[in-house]
Chain length 414, copies 2
């Protein structure tokens, strides 16, 4: 089963807006196991839109028009599709009532263009628009499905998630339930993940396996189709166990709506631990990332940005001569920074960062050289050396996540 | 003259990345007066890519392939186009030398795939890649132009601006020069900008005017066509003067390759001033953003993240009872934080942030309530109250930029 997306809008062709809907829907289709081999963008022009539909019919079973459902004269998708299929446009009563109520509230008269928003190609299944006024629709003709969706992402995304996906699941004959489980990994690249899991990926049927690259992370989505949730879980569990046996050391949590800072704050709360930081290389990015998580203030009270040797000494109580002797980017300094921050902030754990962000080398050490320190109350501080590839931003971004990952593993090991 | 853009990449079809290049290039083409009536997206598949080229040839004179020039086996654009045109791939000597130098530095062996990055279709004009390794190219065949561009936006955008646009201008027989000037604004929304400039936007011919939304910023691009640079400048100058007379208070700098932290670091260097910060709300994000700029270490030595009242007192020398009395989110606390940080870090200027990031209210103040403080050596500290809309991330992001903007204006006023 294959779908072709047609984004409709001269403003996309002119570069006035970016087509974000394409990626959003393509992702949903991929999860449904629907191939998408071509996409098109076409302007608000009836002849060219009709040609785009004709072309898509030759390549796909599901033809999806995105945009061109609004009230302005250049919104032509609905009319063009109806003409293409040789059907009339008819009113959707609930949408028409909503439109009339809206017009009354706005004290605006209804134009014919406005009224078009409540119409759909005769015989189609209406897709309700919870956010806006223009209804979507699915028409079936000669074995092909033709789908109309609104262009504004605020209307488009909920219609896809709440209405189109369930509709497709049903019509695709999945009376099955589809259950996904997302595993999140840090410290391993996508190519290594696919190598380690090559046999599972090659042999996948049910559950299916897909890897996704996030910034400096990899996620793995297992999706099982089964009669019910319990049966799906029974398919997912052994697959996950096999994956964990190979990649467990890099695993840090489940779910699309998860992240390293969220996992860390959850672990801090579970262990009732306070954390602080002393950041040179990352200059506050570790603490700012941690504070992205609502509720963090219970477990993080503050910390230090110590960019120079002098502030490392002044803020953290280190000896500046010792830093100068050991080098700012060194194991000894990373440990001393963590130890100093722990004491000054009266915390249970402290993470420190010192390194060379680049672009060039510094102090004889190449860009990407990073020492991360970790101190725990009542224990000797530790430090780890990393060599991160990439730009200045990448080196700092990777360092922040490496610090979060180490902190998480330390909390989990307690 | 009409162009067709073909974005190449299975990751776009799968929705793993959003096709932002399409909008960027379409906009440039529109400014050149080149029509763009269709766009395509196709995966990393030689047969389908070839079919896409054939289709585009029937509709456009300029066929532009974006992406698929990299070193992995699924990068096929160059090979597919060369085969389509019936020409060989040949080495670009400077690109090959750059590639070999890079491989030597990375101590990585060169694979045949790697070497492909330095090749172009025989007879083509090479488009140099200043940022990455894969060259672009323009081939001319039977009256049509075939253009290869890299996919990563960091490589794609400069190649379009610095090489493709001048090339197209020349081959289009515009003996005109096109000169753009980008003005950057903070503290005003795009809709307000377009309202204030409505008459200029409606009446635009030469120069043209276009607004772009960046995160919490607006940029305005003026583009003039003229016989030479001086004539273009003579068209741009009065238009800019008119715009500055209306929006000058929000203006902070010129150019695509500019940003508030860059402008701040430049101003710190010009005035030879040291800056520090005390961050509650933003938890290090202001300092981390400043430290995105290479060379910042000369003007920023360190600062504080003081998330709790206790750390505000302990790190900055404030009196905890006074904070508790005034409230953490208050004018008095913002001023005291800036004054305390200034003294502790021995800096010339200090910026402080305290506020309610949300999602919910805090201490009886709604999410988005933000006090920013600014202290200068030898002067009384000041504070400004803001009410920022949006999510937790938006409130903190806007606060960081507002702090940078205030700091910049303060430095410029010296």
């Amino acid at each position: 089963m294959s779908a072709e997306l047609i984004a409709v809008g001269t403003e996309i062709l002119l570069g006035q807006i970016t087509n974000t809907n394409g990626a959003f829907l393509a992702n949903q289709l991929a999860e449904l196991g629907i191939d998408s081999l071509n996409q098109q963008v076409v302007g608000d022009n009836q002849a060219r839109l009709d040609a785009a539909i004709t072309l898509a019919e030759q390549r796909a079973e599901i033809i999806i028009l995105i945009g061109g459902l609004g009230p302005t004269p250049d919104d032509l998708s609905k009319q063009t599709l109806a003409a293409h299929l040789g059907v009339a446009l008819v009113d959707d009563a609930p949408a028409l009532a909503k439109l009339q109520a809206y017009a009354a509230q706005q004290q605006q008269p209804m134009t014919p263009n406005n009224l078009l928003q409540a119409k759909y190609p005769a015989g189609a299944t209406v897709l309700m628009n919870k956010v806006g006024l223009a209804v979507g629709a699915v028409s079936v003709s000669q074995g092909k499905q033709y789908i109309l969706l609104p262009g504004p992402p605020k209307e488009f995304e909920p219609m896809v998630l709440d209405q189109l996906v369930p509709y497709l699941l049903k019509t695709l004959g999945h009376d099955a339930t589809m259950v996904s489980r997302v595993l999140r990994f840090f410290g391993i690249g996508e190519s290594k993940v696919t190598t380690v899991l090559a046999d599972l990926i090659a042999g996948q049927t049910n559950p299916t396996l897909a890897t996704y690259i996030k910034p400096y992370e990899v996620t793995l989505r297992l999706t099982a189709k089964a009669a019910d949730e319990a049966a799906a879980k029974a398919l997912l569990d052994p697959m996950e166990a096999e994956i964990q046996s190979r990649l467990g050391q890099y695993f840090y949590g489940y779910g699309d709506d998860n992240s390293l800072p969220q996992a860390v704050v959850k672990a801090l709360a579970e262990k009732q631990k306070q954390v602080t930081a002393a950041e040179s290389l990352t200059a506050g990015a570790f603490q700012a990332t941690l504070a992205d998580v609502p509720g963090v203030s219970e477990w993080f009270k503050g910390g230090f940005v110590t960019y120079s040797n002098h502030t490392k000494a002044a803020f953290l109580g280190l000896d500046e001569a010792t830093i100068n002797r050991d080098g700012a980017v060194s194991e000894a300094t990373a440990k001393a920074m963590a130890t100093g921050a722990l004491a000054k902030a009266e915390a249970d754990l402290a993470v420190s960062f010192t390194g060379v962000a680049g672009p060039g080398p510094n102090d004889g050490q190449p860009a990407g050289t990073v020492w991360i320190g970790l101190a725990q109350r009542g224990q000797e501080a530790q430090a780890q050396l990393f060599h991160f590839p990439g730009s200045r931003a990448a080196v700092r971004g990777r360092a922040v996540k490496a610090g979060l990952f180490w902190l998480l593993k330390t909390l989990q090991a307690e």
